[in-house]
Subunit: 431 residues, 2 copies
């Protein structure tokens, strides 16, 4: 065990919401284990909160709470700062001040990292401190450290992630019960899986920030948040889910980062994946990240993507790593962007498509539809006719084609007299 | 990009079999990427082989091959040594000599680590160098670094691993086709999934070494290899697999490490797990490790557990990490055994059991059987009668009970006149 004489490392904690409370509680409850693992005790120097209060569920001296977070992070002798406030400001200013004060920083702030990670990294590099953020993507699942360190000798080709629990819960419910989006969202809200304003989740903003972070680490390049193509799940219908099932597929909201022809494609959108794909079985609010690498082949990382304790697990892992480095007067790997790859426009992205059309059921319809695909260079892999008589539905799955070619095809199909409606267009991923 | 003027780090590679060849090839093919990621180029200083030869599939200068591995690892200026020979000797002597010579070591040698990891760790600690071995467990899957670093702020409660591809392939075939063990082993051999002498795999020796390593890292304690309870899959019958299926379960060979009442239980044995468990879908020769931790909850890591390239991916990840440390004049976390937990005897291990009995079909049979369980304090959760008339089969699943109590129950059942045969006894894990 650690001798009590060892000088503690001083930790400033910013935020005492769900995650902050878990972090504080675990720091207290696991103090002996953490001290043994770091080689020095971790001591909470203060907890920055928005309003003065004493939290009964956080077992610390109430005197540790302060509303002056800037004073806390700039105090002399602060070794480590944990930021779990979220949002761009004041989080960014606090982190930059902490780094300038010589502290290593652990954050769960995906929005800030996706928006302005380069500034934070540059500051950390200059100060010779660590900037860790495992909790920012997929909660408790160790995925950023494996990408940054375990797979660093390999060449990652593709990352497919289910990185938003709210949308995965909604799509899982739609798959299990046949419910529509609105009904499944109501259920998610009632069970606490969706926030009162679910926009960030259901429109894919949350997943897009995570996609940018995953792509940057996987491909050693910077991916600006606004270069991430983003579509949410609000347009996914019960009919899409049923049509997927009929083809042996399930609908998931995927964060995708791919290396293609010397560039990266980074996007978030609903997609149909084979029911046999390892990601297909990831239900409820769970997260998973599927990685294909040149030498490793297929890997998957699965677990809880949100919640106080799971997120705190990731924060504390980073905290111990940063504390070990501090105790050993070293620092972990910094930003790696040497590859400087271009981000490919969405129109150039090549994937497969599932297209459902309501059509007149008369001779020549398939020929006209097929002609439209062929005219844009999109070749068809399978066609299925569902329904009958007046009410025919054509379901087509294409071979790989550029997104722009498919978009042009769909526009032309909508204008065809024999096509009553293009009822569903969804990308097909995962083989 | 890295400036060419930077001094290379010199790598000695021991072994040029399947894994060694992949490592050498990737070191050459990915040289620019690796140099950028490390900050300095990695240069192959020599390749230790058993017999002089030039390998056409390893694209290096033939002059690099040497049969004097000891001379290679003790050369001045060797920074990093990769050991992929396997076995206890000469691997141990070579690694210890390399460490004494000041090199960091990356190894895939599970047998040596399980047998004598403490000696290697102590030497690395004394010399201030790294000892990394991600490739020793579950091939390409990043699991040791996540346990050592990502989950280091959490408290791991249980690890369940499918860590042997040969046995998983055999059990998957038995599940899919209804084949018996011998038939499935023949198929595995024909397809190259089983070695000519499959003992190390099918008797669980390989998995036991991995279980010892996983348990040591998960619980910060030393687990001697001979403290790992080990049972292989040679006794698993088609009837066991069918009986599991009838109960909604599948049979897997599991490496299990659990924290129980301040001690650890470490064991390898076939077990029935629910068909809905994340490990149940891990088919063919894939590996997966399921981890339960106090804060993180349930996690799973999935991928390829063997093969040249997947193993080389893990080796190169470690090599880059060790090289970064060397370039930065630091070292990663060493052995952590502060918890010093006792290993619990198998008889004290508490789990659930699936027991199939061929019995006389006459009144009083169930009462007699139930009495036998009750007499040893083993309570029954479910009973199912299969078959009929003269040929009745009772399938019982118990609540959790100590292994010793179950063994005593089974011994007594075998002696009962009404019990013709105890046809299957298998542990039930994973909920």
């Amino acid at each position: 065990m650690v001798e009590p004489a060892k000088e503690p490392l001083r930790v400033a904690l910013l935020g005492s919401g769900v995650v902050g409370s878990s972090v504080a509680r675990l720091l207290v409850e696991s103090a002996d284990d953490l001290a043994a693992r770091v080689g020095r005790p971790l001591e909470i120097a203060g907890i920055g909160v928005r309003r003065e209060r004493s939290r009964a569920d956080v077992p610390v001296d109430p005197a540790l709470f302060t509303t002056d977070a800037m004073e806390l992070v700039t105090r002399p002798g602060i070794d480590l700062v944990v930021e779990v406030i979220g949002g761009i400001e004041p989080a960014r200013s606090l982190i930059l001040a902490a780094i300038k004060n010589g502290a290593s920083v652990v954050t769960a702030n995906k929005a800030l990292l996706a928006e302005d990670g380069a500034t934070l990294y540059a500051a950390a590099e200059e100060a010779g401190v660590d900037l860790y953020y495992e909790a920012a993507v997929a909660g408790a699942i160790p995925i950023l450290r494996p990408l940054r360190e375990s797979l660093v000798g390999d060449r990652v080709q593709r990352v497919l992630g289910i990185v938003n629990g709210t949308t995965n819960f909604i799509l899982s419910r739609m798959t299990e019960s046949g419910a529509g989006f609105a009904e499944a969202l109501d259920e998610a809200t009632a069970l606490g899986y969706a926030e009162a304003d679910p926009t960030a989740d259901v429109e894919g903003f949350d997943a897009a920030a995570k996609a940018a972070i995953l792509a940057s680490l996987a491909f050693h390049t910077r991916v600006p948040l606004d270069a991430v193509h983003r579509e949410g799940i609000t347009e996914v219908t019960a009919a899409d889910v049923a049509s997927a099932r009929a083809m042996g597929r399930v609908v998931k909201l995927l964060a995708i980062a791919e290396l293609v022809d010397g560039g990266v494609s980074v996007r978030v959108h609903p997609a149909m994946i084979p029911a046999t794909h390892p990601l297909a079985g990831v239900g409820d609010a769970f997260n998973a990240v599927f990685v294909q690498a040149e030498a490793a082949g297929e890997l998957m990382f699965y677990g809880r993507g949100a919640g106080g304790d799971p997120t705190a697990s990731a924060v504390l892992g980073d905290l111990v790593a940063a504390a070990r480095n501090r105790a050993g007067e070293s620092s972990g790997p910094g930003e790696s962007t040497y590859a400087s790859l271009p981000v490919r426009p969405m129109g150039d992205t090549v994937t497969r498509y599932h297209v459902s059309l309501d059509v007149d059921d008369r001779p020549g319809v398939l020929a006209a539809v097929a002609q439209s695909f062929a005219g844009h260079g999109v070749s068809i892999q399978t066609v299925r006719q569902e329904g009958h008589a007046d009410d025919a539905v054509l379901v087509l799955v294409t071979h790989t084609a550029p997104d722009a070619a498919l978009a042009a095809t769909v526009e032309e199909l909508r204008a065809l007299e024999i096509v009553r409606d293009v009822s569903s267009v969804m990308r097909v991923e995962g083989g």
